[in-house]
């Protein structure tokens, strides 16, 4: 039932409305305003008229129809669905943090600015970069900022012939889409049989027209690109720059710094590696880090720490924090949000980083990798087809359901849907597209051995069912609020908003 169907004309929540007699100046003035009638609307928007309890009950019950990290194992490859510590939420929502206006004087925000500055320093350290901007509001916006900086760099050198960005075929779809948004054409290069970039193809694709290469390492195939030094040399020798897609940073956090691999610019998905919530599709945060030569182009604002203009109680330890603006960074690619990005999310990432400390960060990569390799080994032993059995898994790996499909007709999608009935959120399906019938599995470091063992057992059960009772698997899920949905009807009829019955 929709909230609109719980609506009753005339029902309202007096506790949530201002006492207009106080603010308008007289009990009888009602809602009259000083605005000419021609600018006012005559109808009322279609919003529910429901009691507070109806609303609370409705959305509480809706929430219970979701799988979430807090309720289920969620091994979604490339998404890093690890535990989101509750302390991060509680501490980012302290009243003073929530109440501060973005344009209030910086003197009234020294606490929040200190957190942001510290987070910049932490991210510089883990990425091996010379500077960081926290501005981008999602990974895709971080990519945009990164490629826009590459373009600004070439443009500033009057190197206008560079019109292409090279992207491996295993890359996230955001990579080519971003390159186009930045005015580049995309040149795609293939992957070799080991899951690495095809170096010959890379050499052939690189030239004076190359602005840069976008690379995820470990790749979306779940393996570390060993020849990164060669790749780096090919691109840099041609005058291009290297972009690091930080989607898989969790795999190497505290182990390898992208700056040490020769990357010039990186975005970091804080909602993955730094455990801020995914929220059913955002808000995320896609901080960018850059090497020395890209520092002038960082997106605004960036937080700076300076000696205080005059000593004041608000300045901690003799420091004063302020936002750098266009006046400080005249070559900046500019602003990407009206204010300063998703600050509430950045505070959560900061709390998480401080709780981990340096030692905790090393452990992230270690245990994410241990869990992935253990799960891969157990599934391999159980007879599942691992895409790259000769390789170490990074924090994720691929299982192909093609043999099962050939034998029983049960697809990776069917397996995924049946996993829901067993109480597991499925892995990422059909990405990367290079491996047929693939499941991309990322367990993360926060899951226990028992959970991983349970997941292996569930997949084995489903495989048995695929042979013994294929219709059971094809018809899955059976225990969710709905069964499989008609996507064709959805796209054809496009019911995108409820309308009252006439």
């Amino acid at each position: 039932m929709l909230i609109f169907e719980r609506s009753h004309p005339g029902r309202r929540n007096a506790a949530q409305a201002p006492h207009h007699s106080v603010v308008i100046g007289g009990p009888s003035t009602g809602l009259r305003t000083g605005i000419p009638a021609v600018l006012l609307r005559e109808d009322r928007p279609l919003l529910p008229e429901a009691s507070e309890m109806d609303v609370v009950r409705h959305y509480t019950r809706l929430s219970q129809k979701n799988f979430s990290i807090d309720t289920h194992f969620y091994p979604l490859g490339s998404c890093t669905m690890k535990y989101n510590p509750r302390a991060c939420n509680t501490l980012a929502m302290l009243p003073n943090f929530l109440a501060r206006h973005p344009l209030a004087p910086e003197a009234s925000g020294q606490g929040v600015l200190a957190c942001l500055y510290d987070l910049q320093e932490i991210l510089k350290d883990v990425s091996g970069m010379a500077g960081v901007s926290l501005m981008p509001m999602a990974g895709a916006q971080g990519e945009f900022a990164g490629i826009a900086m590459i373009r600004a760099y070439h443009d500033a050198r009057n190197d206008m012939a560079r019109t292409e960005i090279i992207v491996p075929d295993a890359a996230h779809g955001t990579n080519p889409a971003t390159a186009v948004m930045c005015g580049y054409t995309v040149k795609e290069i293939p992957t070799d049989a080991n899951g690495d970039v095809d170096l010959d193809a890379l050499r052939a694709a690189t030239g004076p027209q190359t602005a840069g290469l976008m690379l995820t390492n470990p790749s979306t195939l779940g393996v570390f690109e060993k020849r990164i030094a060669d790749i780096q040399k090919i691109i840099h020798d041609a005058g291009g720059l290297l972009y690091y897609d930080g989607a898989n940073l969790n795999a190497i956090l505290g182990k390898v710094k992208p700056g040490d691999m020769g990357f010039d610019v990186i975005h970091m998905n804080l909602h993955k590696t730094f455990s801020t919530p995914h929220g059913g599709g955002g808000p995320g945060a896609g901080a960018v880090g850059v090497a020395q030569r890209l520092l002038p182009f960082l997106p605004l604002p960036v937080v700076a720490k300076e000696p205080p203009p005059q000593p004041s109680p608000a300045s901690e330890g003799g420091s004063h924090y302020r936002y750098l603006t266009e006046a400080d960074l005249p070559q900046s690619i500019g602003r990407l949000s009206a204010f300063s990005g998703n600050i509430g999310i950045l505070l959560r990432a900061y709390v998480y980083a401080r709780m981990l400390g340096a030692e905790g960060m090393h452990r992230v990569a270690e245990f994410a990798t241990l869990n992935a390799n253990y799960l891969m080994a157990e599934l391999h032993k159980a007879g599942f087809t691992v895409a790259f059995p000769q390789r170490r898994a990074s924090h994720e790996f691929i299982v192909s359901m093609k043999p099962l499909k050939d034998a029983t007709g049960i697809s990776a999608m069917d397996v995924a849907k049946r996993l829901l009935d067993k109480g597991y959120h499925p892995p990422t399906t059909y990405f990367p597209m290079l491996v047929p019938e693939c499941l991309l599995i990322e367990p993360t470091e926060t899951e226990s051995k028992e959970t991983l063992d349970g997941f292996v057992a569930a997949l084995k059960e489903i495989r048995d069912e695929a042979h013994a009772a294929p219709e059971l698997v094809k018809g899955a899920p059976h225990t969710m609020p709905v069964r499989r949905l008609d996507d064709v009807k959805a796209a054809r009829e496009l019911d995108l908003a409820w309308k009252p019955a006439v």
């Binding site: 006012l40 302390a87 600050i343 509430g344 926060t446």
Partner: protein
């Protein structure tokens, strides 16, 4: 080891299964030269008690002045239930609803959101959100250029927030789109129709129409929209959703309404939070839906004919279309949209109208009383919504600093962005302000000018 559950026994059993002698061996494919990885700027980990203390100390450094700044972010009452429910783990820790059967909660919530925001804006359809109002404006400009096909020029009035214009420039300039600034009439504070008319007959992809505009002034939206039609340009409405409880909606402007409506959803349940997270909204006419970026939720049926919700039109998106996608956006601001949906459901159209009307009336009262201070006068004669521009007899920066010293955020200094206005500040009093608050404001202003 925070948030890692492994016991020593677990670790040795797992390594034995893998056939590795220790955890370090799992990294043996990474060239040794790269594995420095020493972290120097990060101290020891803090436990929850220590980090709680640290964050309380930091929060205490942020003062809470009585706020009269708007300028794109507005202080409104948010019912307690909004954030309580939105931060339930089932919403807070869910992923994008790709697995529809296990995400009906998020999907239905987003469908209800699309219904509410489309109705508020008077438009046919909505997406499931963009990042914020400024980046939504940039996406609307890109969308209009895609839809228009021949022109890459978009008219952007100077009465649009300078911060929004700056973001739009950063995002669209890389695709060779020309943004042409249209000045405002110094008497009214609204778009200068004569200056606009000079562009008549040229090939224009879109006109951006802010309502209320950055100065809080109300534009002649019918005339501007009709002008856009006459040029064969798309009309992009840039609106504050709360004001649409009272104001004519973009879908009702002129004969056929605006083509695209965008704005920031912050006034619908998002705390100020130093600037984010908020969310951008985007609505459009049905005919443009395939040009719209971002995720879209659709109602359909399942195998048994039971109603359910799913993502649709994914062929526009980057994970399918790659280089040919409408945008690179994937994650948006889902949780803030969940909060906004609950917020709108709790207030209803009556509650939103009251909050909007009270904000208007409070700002009106503030403008009248502040104008009683010697030398202070209101700029711009056009009707306003819940922000006004005050002209001061002394340095605006110094006045605001003095008011800050008295515990009041007295407004947004327009001087850096609009030097032609002199010592002007933009002031906002939402429904959260009492009669006493407004008196305090006026007294502080009087004192600052003394």
């Amino acid at each position: 080891m925070p948030f890692i559950p492994h016991t020593e026994t677990d670790i040795s059993q797992m390594l034995a299964s893998i056939g590795a002698k220790n955890i370090d061996a799992l990294f043996d494919e990474i060239p040794a030269a790269l594995r420095s990885g020493k972290l120097t700027a990060i101290g020891d980990g803090l436990n929850e008690m220590q980090v709680t203390r640290l964050m309380h100390e930091r929060a205490a450094q942020d003062s809470q002045p009585l706020n009269f700044i708007g300028a794109g972010a507005y202080e409104h009452h948010i019912p307690a239930a909004v954030l309580e429910i939105a931060t339930r783990g089932e919403y807070y820790t869910a992923y994008t609803p790709y697995q529809a059967e296990a995400s009906q909660g998020t999907l239905q919530t987003l469908y209800e959101y699309q219904t509410m925001i489309a109705s508020l804006t008077g438009m046919d359809v909505s997406n499931a959100s963009l990042y914020d109002g400024a980046s939504a404006l940039a996406e609307a400009i890109l969308m209009a250029v895609r839809a228009h096909k021949t022109s890459r020029r978009v008219l952007l009035p100077a009465s649009v927030s300078p911060l929004y214009r700056s973001v739009a420039r950063s995002i669209v300039k890389l695709q060779d789109i020309e943004l042409v600034e249209i000045p405002f009439d110094i008497a009214t504070g609204t778009t200068d129709l004569d200056a606009l008319q000079q562009h008549a007959g040229s090939d224009i992809a879109a006109l951006v129409i802010p309502q209320p505009n950055f100065f809080g002034a109300l534009e002649d939206v019918d005339a501007l929209t009709a002008w856009a039609y006459a040029q064969g340009a798309l009309a992009i409405g840039l609106v504050n959703p709360l004001t649409l409880a009272l104001l004519k909606a973009p879908g009702q402007w002129a004969e056929k309404g605006a083509d695209i409506a965008v704005g920031d959803g912050q006034p619908l349940g998002a705390p100020l939070s130093s600037g984010g997270p908020y969310f951008g909204f985007m609505c459009c006419k049905q005919a443009l839906v395939r040009q719209m970026p971002g995720r879209i939720i659709c109602r359909t049926v399942d195998l048994d004919g039971k109603p359910g919700f799913t993502l649709t039109l994914q062929a526009r998106e980057q994970h399918i279309r790659r280089a040919k996608a409408t945008s690179n956006i994937c994650s948006n601001q889902g949780l803030m949209v969940t909060a906004a949906t609950i917020h709108m459901a709790l207030l209803g159209s009556d509650g939103l109208r009251r909050a909007a009307a009270a904000s208007h009336a409070n700002t009106q009262a503030l403008a009248v009383q502040a104008s009683g201070v010697p030398g202070v006068k209101r700029l711009f004669g056009a009707p306003h919504f819940h922000e006004v521009v005050l002209h001061l007899p002394g340095s605006s920066a110094r006045v605001l600093e003095s008011m800050a010293g008295q515990g009041i955020s007295g407004g947004y200094d327009l001087q850096p962005h609009y030097p032609q206005l002199g010592n002007a500040i933009l002031v906002c009093a939402t429904e959260t302000k009492t009669v006493e608050d407004i008196q305090r404001y006026v007294a502080a202003l009087r004192h600052a000018l003394h």
